[in-house]
Every structure is written in structure tokens, then in C-alpha cells.
Amino acid sequence: MKCRCAKTKKRLMAHPRDTDLPDDLRATLESCPECRAFWSRMQRISGLIALKRYEYPDLATLDRCRRDVHQRILDLQAKAQAQAEPVSWSAVWGTTLPAFRFSMAALFVALLGLHIFSASHLPVLHTSERSMAEHLQRAEQAQADQLAQDERPNPEFTIMMLSNWTPRVQQDSAVQFIGLGQ
């Protein structure tokens, strides 16, 4: 039976070691020179590449690697533990970056300066407020006077009405009330 070489080669690749070959595949290799040559080359390539397993580092290199990793893990654990514990503000301040500390100090000085500047201008502000209050009060008074002026009854009419039925004393009061006695 003629060998279907492409298929045989794929099957051969599923058994990369000579010792793994099933009997039917071994028989095919016996009968097909092309597949036999292919198998032989693949085995040789595999064997050559496998020679690289003789390249390895010395124990000292691996020990150093392991020690370094060990130390880095211990550092990580210490860091994680430090983060888990509550810290004082002074400790936080001490560990912050110099640039951040400088920025915070500058901000504090700026705020302090602003506060002092505002405090020195407070009297002016108060005077202004008082002037405004007085101005408002005067305006209200003027408005009230104007209102009183508008609502002031006719003096002659009032005297006539009062003289009809009010005693003299009351008439005088009324005269005073309507401003004629001034």
C-alpha cells in the first residue's frame, strides 16, 4: 500500500521519541524511504537541540537569585506591615518628599499672610458698614417724614371739626398735634 507521506509525517510528529512509535507507524517507516528519511532528520534535529540542556549556570548564580528574591519578598512584607499599622502625623511628615513639604509650608505662609492682611483692613470695612447703616437710617427717616407730610390733615378743617365738640384743652392738644402751635 502506498504511503500517504504528509499524513504519516504528521502522525510521526505526535510521537517525537523513537521509543514511542506504535507498531503500524514503525512498519510504515520500514516501507517508505521518504518518511524514514524525514523521521531520521527530525530525530537528529531534536537530538541536536536537546544538547542545549548541557548549558546551565553554576549553583552560586542560582543561590544569589534565590537570596535576592527572598530579600525582596521580606522587604515587600515589611512595607505591607508598615502600611497596615496606624502612623502619626509627624511620621507621615517625615517620610513625605521634600518638594511636598516645601509646598505645604509655602501654602501655610501664604494663608497666614492673607489672614494678617484681612485683619488690618477690618476697621475700614466696619466704618463702611456703619456709614451704610446710617445712610439707610437717614433715608428711612426722610421717607417717614415725607409720608407724615403727605398724610398731614388740612389744619383749618381739623380745627373746625375739633371746635364743634372737643374741649379747649383737647383743642390745644390737637393744635399741637397738627403742628400749628409751633
Partner: protein, 212 residues
């Protein structure tokens, strides 16, 4: 003193990767302890697996220093995310997965700006059947130096795409079975076989002089 990652026998190599627990506590026990913050337990896990992880990264990158740095990154990341490890796979499959992803990302980023820096081959290579055949009297490469062979193997490996290289390194160099590679790469064992097939064809073209 040097440390050998894999034995010469393929089956032993596979077993080495599959059963890395060398007596003492099982990986799963150490993982539980490490998840509770036991650094010594994690250190032991690292000791057991770092050789293989180093081998994977070294062969993927072709650079000793990169391998050293990445091994550290991988195990550090492993510790950070260990609480998320639910034990659905073995620890070694899980840490391999982290290593593969991290290394593939690294190799993609560095692209054409890297220097080769290789370890010397152990003298034991001279007893390996593949090397014996290569250095036999009949071979045209009997006079090729070991470092020359090393350079060519590494150059050929570096021509593969990251995914194909990962499969070749895991299977042909580290002896990890297809199914296990599939778990590590998040694909089927069929995909692993297919990648291996194409990778070897490409390697054959690159190393044609060694496979007459």
C-alpha cells in the same frame, strides 16, 4: 559546582519535570504555608523549581543576565499572586505559565536589540549520543568546536517565533510532555504537536549542515 536540570534519558528528563518534589514536604503543602506568608516555604519552592525556570528563560532569551533578572521577576510575581493560586494545576505548571508569559512578552519587546551570552556546555555533552554521532569520524563536523555548535544551535533557536521556541525549549530541551505544555501555554496538546512539527521543519532548514 554546576547544577544539571535534566538527566540524559528522555524519560528521566520527563519524570524530572513531572515530579520535582524531592522528598520532604509536598509542593502543595509548601504552597499552603507560603500562602499564609511563610517566606521559608516559598524559598523552598523556589529552590526546587528555579533551575528549570532558569533553563526555560535562558534558552528563550539566549542571555544569562536576562535569564537571571527574569527568574527573579517570575518568582517575585509568583509570591505576589500566590493567594490566587487555587491548586487546580501543580505549582510547577502554574509558575511555568507565569515564566512563559513573562518571557514571551520580554522577548517580543526587545526584538532586535539583544546580545547573546551563553553558559559553557558541561563536559557531559561529550557522552551524549547526538554529540557522539556529530563528532564521529564519518561526520563532516567532527572538527567543529563545541562553542561553534553552541552558537549555531542558539542562532537557529532564535529564528523561531516566541511560541514555537517555547514549545521546542519545553519539549526538546526540558522534556516536558505535550499535554503538560498545553496546560502551560493554554492550548491543546494537538496545537503543541503542530507547533513542534513546524518548528522542527524550520530548525531543519537552519541546521541543514548538521543533518545531511
Amino acid at each position: 559546582m554546576a547544577v544539571c536540570f535534566m538527566s540524559e534519558n528522555d524519560k528521566e528528563r520527563s519524570a524530572d519535570v513531572q515530579a520535582p518534589e524531592e522528598g520532604g514536604e509536598k509542593d502543595s503543602v509548601l504552597v499552603k504555608r507560603a500562602q499564609g506568608g511563610d517566606v521559608a516555604a516559598y524559598n523552598e519552592l523556589m529552590r526546587r523549581h528555579q533551575g528549570k525556570i532558569y533553563g526555560l528563560i535562558y534558552n528563550m532569551t539566549g542571555n544569562q543576565q536576562d535569564a537571571e533578572d527574569l527568574v527573579q521577576e517570575v518568582f517575585l510575581k509568583g509570591f505576589k499572586v500566590l493567594k490566587r493560586f487555587k491548586g487546580k494545576s501543580s505549582f510547577y505548571t502554574w509558575i511555568y505559565r507565569i515564566a512563559i508569559n513573562r518571557t514571551i512578552n520580554f522577548v517580543k519587546k526587545r526584538r532586535n536589540r539583544f546580545a547573546i551570552s551563553l553558559h559553557d556546555m558541561d563536559a557531559a555533552v561529550e557522552a551524549d549520543p547526538a554529540y557522539v554521532e556529530l563528532s564521529s569520524k564519518e561526520s563532516p563536523f567532527r572538527d567543529a568546536s563545541l562553542s561553534e555548535l553552541q552558537q549555531k544551535l542558539n542562532a537557529a533557536l532564535q529564528t523561531l517565533s516566541e511560541k514555537h521556541r517555547a514549545v521546542v525549549v519545553l519539549h526538546d530541551i526540558q522534556g516536558v510532555p505535550h499535554e503538560e505544555i498545553g496546560k502551560m501555554l493554554g492550548c491543546s496538546s494537538g496545537t503543541v504537536r503542530s507547533r513542534l512539527f513546524y518548528a522542527r521543519q524550520q530548525l531543519q532548514a537552519e541546521l541543514a549542515e548538521f543533518t545531511p
